[in-house]
Symmetry: C2
Subunit: 217 residues, 2 copies
DNA sequence: GGATAGCGGATAGCGCTACTATCTACTTCA
DNA sequence: TGAAGTAGATAGTAGCGCTATCCGCTATCC
């Protein structure tokens, strides 16, 4: 298959494919001549993965390059790469510690130890959690920590389901890739489900019409 | 308070505050002279909210302007605005229906009716869910639908907790704003918790070190 | 009252990201 | 043989979230 057919099959424009190859998102095709290369189904699949991570997962090109490098090189620490991926909160660690940030850190540490989570505290997800809780605190919503355990229950439930799915349905050689897909696309799935559940719960509590204007007017 | 103090209190540079005012994220200060204006705590709070939605929630400036307009104008349909907010999947509805998209739609419709969710099918969250499931299908993960109910259970749990929190802790006049905060920042909180739970579950299943390299090597 | 700092308002520019357009020399295939 | 396609390279684009600069004015301190 040449690049044109790859483009036709996936709907990705040819120059974009070339761009992805340049950025390391896609391995180059195998050269059959100095200016002809052939691509196969692995390229097609990888390309679809890239588009899914971009369009659905909201990841950036550089992050995707990182994650794909980890997929292709089993020696790379996937969890760190994944930790930094797909989050709007940059890894930029601000040194300025205010009150809210400090108490948010304490809340996170408490939560992790109370749950017995085997998570190193340097995990970027913990930092993201602190950041979110600190922002909530600054907005006068420190009481949000009261629902944290409910959130954590749900998160554990989801995480167990994810692992069971991967263990059950996936060949070992595809496992790393599947973890990436599950982590990134699973987040999009859950996010949508949560918004649907919000609408439903809100309809049950305040009204009966799921498409109504909001009810506080 | 003048703009300089607002800037000092929130850490947001003065030109950025002016930019936010231009973009409608922040109401202009009350003019006391042709070129002097005064800001109060409502501006400060609003500014913090804007930064939280930007930095933690990952929303875009235009989306935030939308959502804030809905907060300030109770006649606006908040759920639609919120539906479009904070998701990487644009509202751009592609007309091209392939196999995966069709079956994803069917799965979503089935899920909604099976759960008895009172959600109009035009809800953007439903479209996002379809898109994510279609992408999963295209990557050979149609079997992911098997965990959908577990996801939906968790989502309902979270949604109930959110509503209870808002009903319990928030004055009526702040309710709309709190819903926005809970929806957007709550997503960031859950996302971080999910990643932490993944690491923990993975450590329990395959190893004991939460900071280890991934175990498939 | 004069110096200095800050202000509102406006316009222009910057750095980044994800492409997109164009060009050249070459290959494939009808 | 000739139109279409290709690899690889370089340059340009659109949008986003700021950021820099300038102007004429004002508040404040001594």
């Amino acid at each position: 298959m040449r690049i044109g057919e790859l483009s036709r099959r996936t709907g990705v424009p040819v120059p974009t494919i070339k761009y992805y190859v340049r950025e390391g998102l896609l391995p180059p095709g195998e050269l059959t001549s100095p200016n002809q290369a052939s691509y196969d189904e692995t390229h097609e699949r990888r390309l679809r993965l890239v588009r899914a991570l971009l369009d659905v997962g909201g990841m950036r090109v550089a992050e995707i390059a990182n994650v794909l490098a980890a997929i292709d090189d089993p020696a790379r620490p996937l969890h760190k790469v994944l930790g930094a991926a797909a989050d709007p909160l940059g890894t930029a660690h601000d040194e300025h510690e205010d009150t809210e940030a400090a108490s948010a850190h304490a809340v996170v540490a408490d939560l992790v130890s109370r749950r017995g989570w085997q998570v190193h505290e340097s995990n970027p997800a913990a930092a993201d959690l602190s950041k979110a809780l600190a922002a909530l605190g600054r907005l006068g919503h420190s009481a949000f920590v009261e629902v944290l355990d409910t959130y954590a229950d749900a998160a554990e439930q989801v995480a167990r389901a994810d692992l069971a799915y991967v263990a059950r349905c996936v060949a070992v050689e595809d496992m790393v890739e599947s973890v990436v897909i599950g982590t990134v696309l699973g987040e999009a799935v859950f996010s949508a489900l949560r918004r649907l559940a919000h609408v439903d719960a809100s309809a049950r509590m305040y009204g009966t019409d799921g498409s109504k204007e909001h009810e506080t007017s």
